[in-house]
């Protein structure tokens, strides 16, 4: 641990999110959360539904801005950014992995992986090569021409991970990535995350499953919009 120079890639201070503030439908989803995650860490954010972990994930993923508090994503304060700037930040800093894979059904695995490159304005000539490399790195070298429907669930999730990695973001944000997979395939995906962690990616895993969370280096537990527990497993 001390051998590696470490810098914080996700820092939140007093992060709060209130939906419909001031109205009767006001919901306080997040109450002053302080989190610090270093580069190359594999952390899990746990908690039952309604605990605020999804809200926290949306904020960390730059999909939303906080009502109060500060979030510095790889050194950039996101609270004042508009939709366009947030999109740019997501493109450069965040790779998303979803429970339902979210692959575009009519595109081949290769094209699905290459899709974010268009928004990053990578020249067309380089895209297939980069996408193929990403597929190779998740162990799907021979499946690049297949449609999502021709792949197993585990393979589809690997394609999604390759897509998340394509723009080389520092943060990989996985929302229940094993939720739609059997336990053996889930273990394979978690093993892949550990390998990515070893390649100095920061992996943030959002889950309600303690067994899944146990694979992470540190576990945050959310309850009622507050950070309830922060502990190191290893």
């Amino acid at each position: 641990m001390t051998a590696r120079t470490r810098d914080a890639v996700i820092v939140t201070r007093g992060l709060s999110k209130i939906y419909s503030p001031g109205s009767e439908a006001e919901v306080v989803a997040l109450k002053g959360v302080d989190v610090r995650i270093e580069r190359g860490e594999f952390v899990a954010i746990m908690g039952p539904s309604g605990s605020g972990k999804s809200t926290l994930m949306n904020l960390i993923g730059c999909l939303d801005t906080p009502t109060a508090g500060v979030y510095e994503c790889d050194g950039i304060d996101v609270s004042t950014l508009d939709a366009e700037a947030l999109a740019t930040l997501r493109r450069e800093k965040i790779g998303f992995v979803f429970q339902g894979f979210n692959l575009l059904p009519r595109m081949s695995a290769l094209d699905n992986v290459a899709m974010p490159l268009g928004y990053a304005r990578v020249p067309v000539s380089q895209r297939h090569e980069l996408a193929q490399e990403a597929l190779d790195s998740v162990g799907l070298a021979g499946r690049s021409g297949h449609l999502p429907s021709e792949l197993s669930g585990g393979q589809q999730q690997r394609v999604a991970i390759a897509r998340a990695l394509i723009n080389k973001p520092p943060i990989l944000l996985a929302d229940e990535p094993t939720g739609a997979l059997d336990s053996k395939t889930g273990e394979e995906i978690l093993a892949l995350f550990k390998r990515l962690r070893d390649d100095n990616h920061t992996v943030v895993l959002i889950t309600h499953d303690a067994e899944v969370a146990a694979h992470a280096d540190r576990i945050f537990v959310m309850r009622d919009g507050e950070m309830h527990l922060e502990g190191a497993e290893t």
């Binding site: 939303d64 999109a87 998303f96 575009l104 595109m107 928004y119 067309v124 998340a164």
Partner: protein, 411 residues
């Protein structure tokens, strides 16, 4: 995203629903085709009218009998049809110095025969100025001489169509032809004028001296001595035209002893009045076609908007995903705008092809003049792009303003 990326993504999306896309573009296809036919016919007709006006000249007045209407609104008896006379012609010539040429005329149609060839054609009984007024020039031979006019010589000048029908490759000058049962000698042939502004063959005509036509061709009913069925004149200077028109009307009212307040027994028209009628008809048709085209484009546009709204709703998860991987609102808006514009542009291209073919068919079968040019096609293309832009903007904006969190949550 680069332009190429946007285009590729749009084509990919449309191909996924190609049937729906094709049906959606149908409204634009019809609208654009209608625009092309409309503008082509409109421009063609306008060009014809311009040609007609310049061909007949804006220095010209035509006077025809107008027996007026009696109290029941019916036309007067046929005997009052010949209200104009050669004396009127001479009076105009002498009393109005601004008049350059003036000629009375009689007209009718007859069977013309030479050897085995015969044809039905129209004849004009003319005075000397008639040829200048109507821009007729002699191809071969000589105009009528003074004696032809004064003593009703049985000489005839034939138009190009008549010459070809009767004589083929020969000039026919010096030959004797029969008009009805009366033998005439061909003294000259006319230079061809080609098709006239109303699509008629101007060369299917022959000319005889006025007096000759009155005696030999008007048939048993005959006409009053000196009577003419029309007087044409030109003024030396075009800007005197309306002044001369007033002078002619005053002169003829005086000569015909028409009391103030009574109806004239003649009518003076200048070419712009004749053209105005035709222009009005053309304009009405253009407006009708324009209305049809506009309605088609609006319906087509609404169809595009409708389908794009459906598409945004259907692909809400895709939009959420694209936003998650870094697509900004601008990227999303451009993508959906590109799809809408592509639908209407493809519709526009097909519409242009159908419109051009339609315009050519209209020209071929309806006889309406058609002018097709690059401007028309460019205009149609611009219309189709505008339609896509206008009706695609709202759905595209809606897509771009989606909250990525909400969009990803949709099932």
């Amino acid at each position: 995203m680069s332009f190429i990326d946007i285009l590729r993504t749009a084509i990919f999306a449309l191909r996924g629903n190609w049937m729906r896309s094709a049906l959606t573009s149908l409204g634009v296809i019809i609208g654009i085709a209608a625009v092309i036919v409309m503008v082509s016919v409109g421009q063609g007709t306008q060009a014809e009218i311009d040609k007609l006006v310049s061909g007949l000249g804006s220095q010209r007045l035509d006077i025809s009998p107008d027996s007026g209407r009696n109290s029941s609104g019916a036309r007067g008896s046929s005997s009052s049809f010949f209200t104009l006379s050669e004396d009127d012609v001479e009076s105009i010539r002498h009393d109005i110095p601004e008049v350059q040429f003036v000629s009375g005329a009689l007209r009718g149609s007859t069977q013309v025969v030479f050897a085995e060839n015969n044809a039905s054609t129209s004849w004009q009984g003319v005075q000397a100025d008639y040829f200048d007024i109507n821009n007729w020039t002699i191809a071969e031979g000589e105009l009528f001489n003074a004696q032809d006019y004064s003593s009703a010589g049985k000489n005839v000048i034939i138009g190009e169509t008549v010459r070809r029908t009767l004589f083929g490759d020969e000039s026919g000058i010096g030959q004797t032809i029969r008009l009805g049962r009366v033998p005439f000698t061909v003294v000259a042939t006319l230079q061809s004028k080609g098709q006239g502004g109303f699509g008629q063959d101007q060369d299917d005509v022959l000319m005889v001296p006025l007096e000759t036509s009155r005696r030999r061709l008007m048939g048993a009913n005959g006409v009053p001595p000196g009577a003419v069925s029309q007087i044409s004149l030109t003024v030396t200077d075009a800007k005197d035209l309306s002044y001369v028109q007033g002078e002619v009307e005053a002169l003829l009212r005086q000569r015909h002893k028409i009391k103030p307040g009574d109806d004239d027994d003649f009518r003076v028209r200048n070419i712009s009045e004749i053209v105005a009628t035709r222009t009005a008809t053309t304009n009405l048709m253009s407006k009708l076609l324009g209305a049809v085209a506009t309605i088609c484009l609006i319906i087509g546009g609404i169809g595009i908007m409708n389908i794009m709204l459906v598409s945004v709703t259907e692909r809400i998860r895709e939009i959420g995903l694209r936003m998650a991987v870094g697509a900004g609102p601008t990227d999303v808006r451009r993508q959906f705008l590109a799809e809408a514009m592509l639908i209407s542009l493809i519709g526009g291209v097909i519409g242009i092809v159908i419109g051009v073919a339609g315009a050519l068919l209209v020209g071929k079968f309806s006889g309406l003049p058609v002018a097709l040019n690059g401007q028309v096609v460019a205009l149609a293309a611009a219309f189709s792009i505008t339609t896509g832009l206008f009706f695609g903007y709202y759905p595209a904006r809606k897509a771009s303003q989606l909250d990525p969190i909400e969009a990803l949550r949709q099932q």
